[in-house]
Symmetry: C2
Subunit: 342 residues, 2 copies
């Protein structure tokens, strides 16, 4: 069993904790939390040991009747591998702690690419991370792009990519964010940071990205044009994507018209938090004109990196190869929007 | 003076009526309205004669103390040229009425392209409409694309265009429309109708369009990649666009960060209804990599076709050439977001 510590039990950390807890070859040492809030209650109720940032914070937790197993230093020392799911930038502050104890660590996409020897997407470059001391799972949007482009590049060759990312303004609980009734160039400069970020896991692909933020909280939506080396039919491309376990072909004709429909499906299928781990590609949008492939896909910003974090643990632990890890992760989570209801 | 009748005094009709009323070479015969609502009050208060669809409706207007000058048949017969700004599809029903009286007519972009011998964007193909019996001003999004691509094609040559349209869900008063907190492929099939529509005014340009609708009401936003024949610098492209009277270069650095900022500017500058007649291209977004030009622009769906309708009147009336008409229209309206406050 790989013993995993979760440093940061927020949007990503709590999801990865549950996913790790469900894996046959992993267990949770504990989770760390800065504030004694309802998420801390949930951690305790799920049976996870709670760790505080320092002995001072420990006191505020015990004052709230929340038992604390120790400080983050102990959590790190007692873990085989740590998931650092702290807010963007805090991972960089934490880096020396992991180095001190020589604990391999998975950072998140909010950190700069230089934080770790590799950046990670299981479908694109799992092998590069095997045996490393640290890696960084790329952000939700970059993960969505890498998962889509890797199989296209493998099967057809990708000459260039042009993607407009229609970005959700914030997660549902981020009430301090906007926009309200506006469409915002974000960033106004071109390309957005997604293009260079994608190159950290798929260096060979020539990619242009532009970002626009809108008043929605459920998912991001990508509008893509991909110039392929060959001229496949739309059916061949559809089959290629359909063979990918973390790509779901969704049909507007089947009532999955929008991001809200995709999340509703996930809730209906009994998924915890209504999470959608897969890229959702609209089948009707897949269009090929010569070498130009066009399509629309949605990615769930809170969830798509979760299986990647699990795979990153196995890569750092040199536990299995990519194919085996991805299969283990998928099976344990129940990846596939139409897979049997748990 | 060209005597103009406005058939349909709604979102577009009321704006075109005011714009026509401000032209030195045009006057308003009257406007037609189906319902005796607050917009009818405004028409009367602006000094426009009110026409009812038929004698039956005339009674409901007089019952609301709204004086009616006659029916639409009379309005059409008494006008040199009619603007048909009725809801999409109603223009087609009205077409035989204009043919009967041989009154030249300007239809709107909601109608099928086959409704008139030409489709119209003043910057792209004014001359084709000179002396015709009817034309169709293309829709707000298509107008925005044609205005941008025509000068680029003239100066550099355009090989191909890829555009994602992030569409506003509805106009501010369309409370029955959505989406709320969602991002919706609209349409889910590729290309959207904008690509074939653009070819009605710019047949030589190879264009791909994809549409996505979001919870916003203020403007549409276009994310464009244009493959040019040459390899100009970003500065050369910027100068080319800056020379266009109906393209406004806006700067995020100058506080115009979003669609809401653009509308706020228009309100601040004293523009009626806060209308933005110009394409607003974000200066910071203009990026050239080899032949590939990328940029972001916003278009105000209620307003950008207004100057085009005015020019279409002069084209049908064979009144002036394109350059003269556009200048007259611009001067009368005060086109240019930084032009002196009226």
């Amino acid at each position: 069993m790989i013993e995993v510590g979760i440093n940061g039990y927020g949007t990503i950390g709590k999801r990865v904790a549950d996913a790790v807890d469900n894996q046959p070859d992993m267990c949770i040492v504990g989770v760390s939390k800065r504030t004694p809030d309802h998420e801390a209650d949930t951690a305790i109720d799920r049976g996870f040991e709670l760790y505080a940032p320092d002995s001072e914070t420990e006191v505020t937790f015990t004052a709230h009747d929340l038992p604390v197993a120790g400080t983050v230093e102990t959590l790190i020392a007692d873990s085989d591998i740590v998931i650092d799911a702290t807010p963007a930038g805090v991972g960089a502050e934490n880096a020396p702690r992991y180095e001190r104890t020589e604990t391999p660590v998975v950072f998140q996409g909010g950190e700069d690419a230089t934080i770790a020897p590799t950046s990670f997407c299981a479908r694109s470059n799992y092998e590069e991370t095997v045996g490393q001391t640290a890696t960084r799972v790329v952000s939700c949007n970059t993960t969505g792009l890498a998962r889509l482009l890797s199989p296209l590049d493998d099967q057809f060759g990708v000459e260039s990519v042009d993607c407009t990312l229609i970005r959700r303004g914030g997660d549902p609980t981020q009430s301090d964010r906007g926009p309200i009734n506006d469409i915002v160039p974000d960033p106004v400069t071109v390309p957005s940071h997604h293009a260079p970020d994608l190159r950290t896991v798929l260096p060979s692909v020539d990619v242009m990205t532009k970002g626009v933020t809108v008043p929605a909280t459920l998912m991001h939506l990508h509008s893509l044009t991909v110039c392929l080396d060959g001229e496949p039919t739309a059916d061949t491309v559809t089959t290629c994507l359909d063979n990918e376990s973390r790509i779901e072909l969704v049909a507007s004709a089947h009532g999955r018209d929008s991001c809200a429909d995709l999340r509703e499906s996930a809730h209906d299928r009994g998924r915890q938090r209504g999470d959608v781990w897969e890229n959702c590609v609209w089948a009707e949008s897949i269009t090929v004109d010569g070498q130009q492939l066009s399509l629309l896909q949605a990615v769930h910003q809170q969830a798509d990196v979760v299986p990647e974090n699990v795979d990153a643990i196995r890569a750092l632990a040199s536990a299995t190869d990519a194919q085996t890890s991805r299969q283990l992760t998928n099976d344990a989570l129940g990846v596939g929007l139409d897979s049997p209801i748990a």
